[in-house]
């Protein structure tokens, strides 16, 4: 108890100091302010930047609703929300504005609702002043003392469930001097859903309290559903655009590891504050009930994927979005794929598997039977991995040895291929192959044996290959 008191006192002392600083700023009295209605937008749209250079009295009208909608194709969920989508509308005001906030709870709601805006300095962030039973309206007022990007959410008991069902959104309080202008602004909120059925299980899925308590969601999504930012719903920009994403995390439980695949955040206003905390950021952490502003210039065309880089959330639970950038390729920055070939361990073109030690050719003329035996051994060790044990090859990648017209057509060419390797298009048994075979570091005897073996196996029938023939080809340039 004493400890708690001490901590509380410390807390109040700190906030008092803070208050002194804030209240030292003199805002014009409320009566003197021009009145305007806030323009709210549905995600991913962002209200226009504020151009006025003075505070105003801003009226915000927000409705709370409970409705069924899709979480992913074929899966419905009963959302509780601000407005008729998740996240709730984005609100944009200016530092020093005096906000008259109307919270209207739809008469068909089952639940009372309220709103805690993290931008509010005051009890409950407005929750205390906005508790609204179904079919009623509450009004409270606040002065936007601190600029920044803030989450708002419902804070009616049980808070966890109201948030888990979709009651959150972002409010931007622009600093007096405004934010640097950009070309494109987007509004993205990440959150999780806990359903009785597994990911993708069809039908209306009820909220699962036990999964929520264990913090094991079935869905982790951007803007309230799987696919809210993909395909026809993808975000779009043009080359050269400066893009700013207002990113929030509704939670209820998980932080986001926000990353855009193929882009680097030029600037991050970490935790939704007003200062660029870091430049050149790959992944920024955003806590539940928190936010960040990220800015980056798009330099090349393509589809850039927004993910929570806790990557199973992206590929198995839905946390994927797309930013499609249009414009001309810039090969000075990124070329795309310029080559595809077989990966060779060293070097790029035809490669020689190194000999451990160059032995003098054993000029022992093996019998046909011995060549067959030896050749099988050499084949298994050096060739079978690609051309397969039975010589059938792999369609599209490794041409067949078995009944191979290409192999049998020209003995000398076969020797050459083993000695010097081969790359480029060839046609084997009517199929075209365009790949690379490395030069083999085999001595003349082994080459004679393995060629004799393959030319007399797998349904092939041909003359044996002699060391002399191999020697001859080897000498050729």
């Amino acid at each position: 108890m004493y400890l708690v008191s001490a901590v509380l006192m410390l807390f109040f002392m700190i906030s008092c100091n803070d208050n002194v600083k804030k209240s030292s700023k003199k805002w014009p009295p409320v009566e003197s302010l021009p009145v305007e209605e806030a323009k709210l937008t549905t995600a991913p749209n962002v209200p226009p930047a504020i151009t006025r250079k003075h505070p105003a009295k801003v009226v915000v009208n927000l409705e709370t609703r409970e409705f069924n909608a899709e979480l992913v194709d074929g899966v419905e969920y009963t959302f509780w929300a601000f407005g008729d989508s998740v996240p709730g509308p984005m609100i944009r005001i200016r530092e020093g504005d005096f906000v008259e906030f109307h919270l209207n709870n739809h008469p068909d709601s089952k639940m009372p609702h309220n709103i805690d805006l993290h931008a509010v300095t005051g009890q409950g962030g407005g929750a205390e002043g906005s508790f609204t039973p179904p079919g009623k309206t509450s009004i409270f007022n606040f002065r936007a003392l601190n600029p920044g990007l803030y989450i708002y959410h419902c804070a009616t008991a049980p808070v966890g469930m109201h948030i888990a069902n979709g009651m959150y959104g972002l409010i931007l309080v622009e600093p007096e001097e405004g934010l640097p202008p950009v070309d494109k602004e987007f509004y993205v909120v990440q959150s999780e859903f806990y359903t009785e059925g597994k990911f993708g299980e069809k039908g209306l899925q009820p909220f699962d309290m036990n999964k929520a308590l264990k913090e094991i969601p079935d869905y982790v999504v951007f803007n309230g559903k799987v696919g809210a930012l993909t395909d026809t719903n993808a975000l779009s920009a043009n080359i050269g655009d400066n893009v700013r994403i207002y990113f929030g995390v509704g939670g209820p439980n998980l932080q986001s590891n926000f990353h855009v695949i193929g882009e680097i955040f030029d600037r991050v206003y970490q935790e939704g504050g007003t200062k660029v905390a870091q430049k050149n950021v790959q992944t920024t952490i955003v806590p539940p009930g928190g936010s960040a502003m990220v800015e980056f210039k798009v330099d090349v065309p393509g589809t850039f994927i927004l993910v929570d880089h806790a990557i199973f959330r992206a590929f198995n639970k839905g946390a994927i979005g797309q930013l499609v950038v249009k414009g001309e390729e810039n090969h000075e920055i990124y070329t795309g794929k310029t080559y595809e070939g077989i990966y060779m361990l060293e070097g790029s073109t035809i490669q020689t598997i190194p000999k451990v030690k160059e032995k003098k050719d054993q000029v022992v003329n093996l019998s046909f039977a011995d060549k067959m035996k030896e050749g099988k051994r050499v084949y298994k060790r050096n060739c079978a991995a690609c051309h397969q044990k039975d010589g059938s090859g792999l369609k599209g990648a490794f041409p067949p040895i078995a009944k191979s017209d290409y192999l049998m057509a020209n003995k000398e060419r076969s020797i050459k291929i083993l000695l010097k390797g081969l790359s480029g298009k060839i046609t084997v048994n009517g199929e075209t192959y365009d790949s690379v075979m490395p030069a083999m570091s085999l001595d003349n005897s082994d080459i004679a044996s393995v060629l004799t073996y393959i030319r007399n196996s797998f349904g092939n029938k041909g003359k044996e290959v002699t060391i002399k023939e191999v020697k001859k080809v080897r000498k050729e340039k």
């Binding site: 068909d108 639940m111 009372p112 409950g124 609204t132 804070a155 808070v159 966890g160 469930m161």
Partner: protein, 228 residues
């Protein structure tokens, strides 16, 4: 009416180290929520509670908004007579119960009778809370049976209790009434509640704390109890 036997009950929202047990005296409770038909009978005898007569102090403009006129027509009785009456204010519900020599249950009495601590009930209740589909027009005799032979305590409508706002005014030496109320808005509530995971009860308490006596709503009805 069904007899609810006496027993001990630990209120859902209680704070401090000694969680007080509350002794509940035995009482009789309406087996079902009060129906439109029953409320119509009451209005026949008590014209001042009809919707064109009621004082605005005692009921807001949505009072009995699902009724076409002051009294139900034959057709309406056929259609909704057996369904629970909703869109009634606390004042009207109270007057109804008094006219039957009864009263509204206290929060503790209602929660005790509803067996709402029973973990089996919780997920069932949550599902109703989480569903958009309204089933408040279910005939009361068809509502599901709970403990003590009571029907429809969970899963159909909210019900008025006599001290719906006591959560706000219950006091204890270490917390002000407003602190208690905040408990329902934010995390603090979990410190004061008997079982933080009993979200179903949280919602009932939160719902009640937002009410005032003349408030009416399409999912809010009542039933009466009598002392033994």
């Amino acid at each position: 009416m069904q007899v609810v036997p006496s027993g001990n009950y630990i209120p859902f929202l209680s704070s401090g180290e000694n969680k007080p047990k509350v002794q509940i005296k035995s009482f009789k409770m309406d087996q079902t929520p009060v129906t439109n038909f029953e409320f119509n009978q009451f209005l026949k005898a008590n014209p001042k509670w009809r919707k064109t007569k009621v004082l605005s102090l005692f009921a807001d403009q949505n009072y009995l908004k699902h009724w076409k006129h002051d009294l139900l027509s034959e057709g309406e009785i056929k259609k909704i007579g057996d369904s629970p009456v909703v869109n009634v204010s606390w004042f009207a519900a109270r007057a109804f119960c008094h006219a039957q020599q009864g009263r509204l249950a206290s929060i503790n009495e209602w929660e005790f009778a509803a067996d709402s601590d029973n973990p089996k009930n919780i997920q069932k209740i949550l599902r109703w809370y989480g569903k958009i589909k309204k089933n408040q027009s279910t005939p009361v005799k068809k509502m599901s049976l709970g403990k003590y032979g009571l029907r429809g305590m969970h899963g159909y409508i909210w019900e008025w209790v006599n001290d719906y706002n006591s959560v706000l005014i219950t006091n204890d030496s270490r917390s002000t009434s407003s602190d208690k109320m905040n408990g329902l808005f934010c995390g603090g509530g979990s410190l004061g509640s008997k079982d933080a995971s009993n979200y179903a009860s949280f919602m009932r308490y939160a719902f009640r704390s937002g009410l005032d006596g003349k408030y009416t709503y399409s999912l809010l009805g009542f039933r009466c109890i009598k002392n033994m």
